[in-house]
């Protein structure tokens, strides 16, 4: 049934674009159709709300649950009186998921929509800042003091801009840049997270080459997390690929970003501090389900279009695809929250691995020592062309420094230095071709 729907969708996609394109070989085309970025979960919508659309192909029950859990993502949390520090905060960065992920897309690099990770510069950025930790909570509920206040300014350097952040503790002490490293993080889009979660670990590892044994200058390193049972899993989400699952990402965001504790398992209402958790397991699981079952928008152009052919050719020539791995396949998990997540060929343009991105993007913070300060997860590119449509005021890269996609390319260094240089040596019309292709993702 789903396959039938998909084929109808593709045929309509072809016809709407005024093309005489028809499916030549259904099986091959389904697997190679870059336009269906999320496979059968692709949503045929490129409006401002494209990132808010539930995955195509959800069953009636799954869709009903998605709709029911949707408001949890928007819920503004407030301090409660149930127990000490119940509800929001007291220290936090934002009061709801959607406060940062506006319309489920990127957020602006401003207070209340983004946050700072910090560390001492000693020990290569692996040491937390005393009294703060690795994440600076710059907001507090009424009657409490935030950990610090940050004044943000942008400094222009050769056509690019870089953040300057002045961090001051409530007692007026300034945290010197030479002592405390700071890394601004804007929220990334939350589309297709269930699909990324479903990529088999073996597939991720097949792209890893931590010691660059093939000598191509590109390594790719997985982040390994060990859970309370001693099981190891690859980190996949966030700018540093720390959490392995959407559930873990949700737990971290509640606690670190909103100061909201969550139950340690479905059988208890207690958090790991022994106190009643600020939200129920149902709410935690609900937010997780909502994000897992969001779709991914179809690209604007047909796979066979000239724009796509030219763009893909350049993307491969520049070796961008060495890290931004175009195609992935999801596994077959009988416990998947939605059947449509399984067995999909998807086009996220990521390997979910860490790469050294060079000194320009090295802001000195090494995230609990699990990553080096210059290492960043290859961010998915699906939906990137809709970024400004969804939020006109946001930028790219981890701190939103890049105002355009071209600026983002020009910030690439380290393992991506040669790709950037190849981009710089392109003719103007080729640059336009590549950027036009990116804009239709």
């Amino acid at each position: 049934m789903r396959l039938k729907t998909l084929i109808i969708s593709i045929l309509t996609l072809a016809s709407l674009a005024g093309s005489s394109f028809l499916l030549k070989s259904e099986t091959t085309t389904l697997q190679e159709n870059r336009q269906l970025a999320g496979g059968a979960a692709t949503v045929l919508d490129r409006s401002f709300s494209a990132f808010e659309i539930p995955a195509e192909g959800l069953s009636e029950v799954e869709l009903a649950k998605h709709v029911e859990t949707d408001p949890l993502f928007d819920r503004s949390h407030i301090p409660l009186k149930d127990h000490l520090n119940a509800g929001l905060g007291p220290l936090h960065n934002a009061k709801s998921c959607s406060a940062c992920h506006a319309l489920n897309g990127r957020g602006r690099p401003v207070e209340g929509e983004s946050l700072f990770r910090v560390s001492l510069r000693e020990e290569e950025g692996t040491m937390p800042v005393p009294g703060i930790g690795f994440q600076l909570q710059d907001r507090a509920t009424f009657g409490h003091e935030p950990e610090a206040l940050v004044v943000r300014s942008w400094v222009e350097e050769e056509g690019l801009r870089k953040l300057k952040a002045k961090i001051t503790r409530p007692d007026g002490t300034e945290l010197a840049e030479e002592v405390v490293a700071r890394s601004l993080r804007i929220p990334p889009p939350v589309i297709g997270m269930g699909l990324l979660e479903a990529i088999p670990e073996a597939d991720i590892l097949s792209n890893a080459d931590p010691d660059d044994l093939d000598g191509d200058g590109i390594s790719g390193r997985p982040v390994w997390n060990t859970n309370e049972n001693g099981d190891r899993h690859i980190g996949r989400f966030g700018w540093k690929a720390m959490p392995s699952s959407v559930l873990q990402q949700s737990v971290n965001a509640y606690l670190d970003d909103m100061g909201i504790t969550t139950p340690i398992n479905p059988e208890t209402t207690l958090a790991d501090n022994g106190l009643p958790a600020d939200i129920s397991w149902d709410e935690l699981e609900g937010v997780t389900y909502y994000t897992q079952t969001l779709g991914v928008p179809a690209t604007a152009e047909l796979s066979s279009s000239r724009i796509v052919r030219q763009g893909v050719k350049l993307f491969n020539q520049l070796e961008c695809a060495s890290c931004h791995v175009a195609k992935q396949k999801t596994g077959n998990n009988p416990d998947a929250v939605a059947a449509v997540i399984n067995n999909q060929t998807i086009w996220p343009y990521t390997d979910l691995l860490l790469h050294d991105m060079g000194p320009g993007l090295d802001d000195g913070v090494a995230e609990h020592g699990l990553s080096e300060s210059a290492e960043w997860r290859t961010p998915p590119l699906w939906g990137i062309g809709l970024t400004k449509r969804i939020n006109h005021y946001v930028g790219f890269l981890h701190d939103g420094r890049a105002r355009t996609l071209e600026e983002a390319i020009l910030w690439h260094g380290g393992e991506a230095e040669s790709s950037k240089k190849r981009y710089e040596s392109l003719k103007d019309n080729q640059k336009v071709q590549l950027l036009t292709w990116l804009e239709q993702l």
């Binding site: 045929l44 709709v67 408001p71 503004s76 409660l80 009061k95 009657g143 946001v394």
Partner: protein, 316 residues
């Protein structure tokens, strides 16, 4: 099913049939005849509210209290009308939470109001203690207002007016969102208007009414302190209708698929009629079976209208 947001480009080419507006005319009308007038009205009503709150703070009589409450209701009306086009700067530049966050953080607000209240105190309150609902919580609470509450109302009124101003400014002029984004891409504008309409219809059906009536939880109802929920809903749906009609999108679609356009027009009219028949103080009626019946009829009508809106988007 077409990819919504790309297909309208082809419509731009075929638009311009005899009496039907072009896509450019629709996007221009949306900016200049719908959004900007609505935000101008919001600014004006916010100024009136600010003045009334100042009068109340200076002279806290029952007459001034009633006047301020009426000005709150009037300003609220202008704001709730705009929900359909909240997708621009209202959503992405935080004007929406600054003006209309919910629920009210009553613990924080009560704590803040327990001592001398100043601009500095106000600056330490989050948006859940400001805006329409923060003001509503204080203004429609105990009529014997304290000095701290009066000081709060004065500051919160000015803050609300500042945000209304900022929102209007963000859409206005040659560098505003209206010209640089909406009018710059008429095909995208049409798709976004439809997405905004659909989103508002679903939000009212599933969120504003569906959740509180599904769970019989008064706390989930907006504008509960003033008993204004019913009026909010009427304005929300009227805003959808306004966007549909006054942007000329209705005529634009009618030219291409009159059945679909007429269906949507009729469904929106029916939804407005059903909403107007609701009691304004919905929080008193959560367990009323007759109100529940009205709510069911309205939410069904809203969902049908949302589905038709989606069909319109797919059809173009």
């Amino acid at each position: 099913m077409p990819v919504i947001g790309t297909a309208a480009a082809s419509l731009v080419l075929i638009a311009g049939c005899q009496n039907a507006p072009t896509a450019s005319e629709v996007s221009s009308a949306m900016v200049n005849k719908v959004v900007l007038p609505s935000y101008t009205n919001l600014v004006s009503a916010s100024e009136d509210l600010e003045n009334a709150l100042n009068d109340l703070a200076d002279n806290p009589t029952n007459r001034n209290l009633e006047k301020a409450r009426n000005k709150w209701r009037a300003a609220r009306k202008t704001w709730e009308l705009t929900e359909t086009w909240a997708y621009g700067p209202a959503e992405t530049l935080d004007f929406d939470p600054n003006l209309d966050d919910w629920p009210v953080s009553t613990n924080e607000l009560s704590s803040a109001l327990s001592n001398d209240f100043s601009e500095k105190t106000f600056s330490r309150l989050d948006t859940t203690s400001r805006g329409f609902h923060g003001i509503e919580y204080v203004l429609f609470g105990d009529s014997d207002l304290t000095a701290q509450e009066l000081a709060y109302l004065k500051i919160a009124g000015a803050d609300l007016e500042d945000n209304a101003d900022g929102l209007l400014e963000s859409w206005s002029g040659a560098k505003g969102f209206g010209v640089t984004v909406v009018e710059a891409d008429p095909a995208a504008a049409i798709i976004d208007i439809l997405a905004g309409m659909q989103g508002c219809l679903e939000e009212v059906a599933d969120g504003k009414l569906g959740t509180p009536f599904g769970e019989a939880d008064e706390g989930e109802l907006e504008s509960v302190f003033s008993g204004n929920t019913g009026n909010d809903v009427v304005q929300n749906i009227s805003g959808v209708k306004l966007a549909w009609e006054k942007s000329q999108l209705q005529s634009y679609i009618e030219e291409r698929n009159s059945d679909l356009a007429n269906t949507l027009t009729n469904q929106l009219n029916e939804a407005v009629t059903l909403a107007k028949a609701l009691p304004s103080r919905l929080n008193d009626k959560l367990s009323s079976s007759s109100t529940q019946l009205q709510i069911n009829q309205l939410t069904n009508a809203l969902r049908e209208a949302a589905e038709t809106t989606a069909s319109v988007a797919r059809a173009i």
